[in-house]
Subunit: 121 residues, 2 copies
């Protein structure tokens, strides 16, 4: 699980390698982003992150587990996220957020099946 979270930061945010999201989300995952309706399915999720990271010029998303609760075949995780964005012509800004992820296994990998977050301020 720590590895999946690290891939999200290093590959998706760091390298803008959006195909790495195949390793992070289940095929029929759902994300519930602030300010938008729920988005379901990995193709639509990849489009969401690609648009968001490029439009915000996001540089990193450091995730830290706060609580990990085994839940049958899955796991419910509460976590903290620190997002760094560098708006054009502006200084780098850190955004503190928190999230809940419902993890499931797919093809032997632990992946995010439900992912919801919001900002702390």
């Amino acid at each position: 699980m720590a590895e999946t979270n690290a891939v999200f930061n290093a590959e998706v945010f760091g390298k803008r390698n959006f195909d790495a999201l195949d390793r992070i989300y289940t095929a029929n995952a759902s994300i519930l982003p602030p300010g938008a309706p729920m988005i379901s399915g990995r193709a639509a999720i990849k489009e969401f992150w690609s648009n968001l990271i490029q439009s915000a010029n996001a540089k990193s998303a450091v995730l830290a587990s706060v609580e990990v609760m085994p839940a049958g075949d899955g796991v419910v995780e509460i976590g903290r996220a620190t997002l760094t964005v560098e708006p054009e012509g502006g200084a780098a800004t850190e955004i503190e957020a928190k999230y809940v992820v419902y993890w499931r296994q797919e093809d032997g990998l632990w992946k995010w099946h439900v992912d919801i977050w919001n900002e702390n301020s």
Copy 2:
């Protein structure tokens, strides 16, 4: 579960009966509200809802399950919420939100153990 969701609307929002939250949240539940850090424990959660409902003059919170996923002893629910607020001197406004709740059983009742939400716009 539908009953718990209905109590949240009818008792907590409708009647401002904040003790009804004892039937809704587990004793050591956590909520993750937008614009604030995580809040843990039922006493602090009751204070949060009491403050929010009174300061926003909230009138109702209608919840609707979108997806219910059995997860071991618990359940992961994705839902939609329609919140109605009546700011002083203003017209009633509806706010569309979405949530993820991790349900657990406590004293034979299904309750919310983790509750996170955000607005759709």
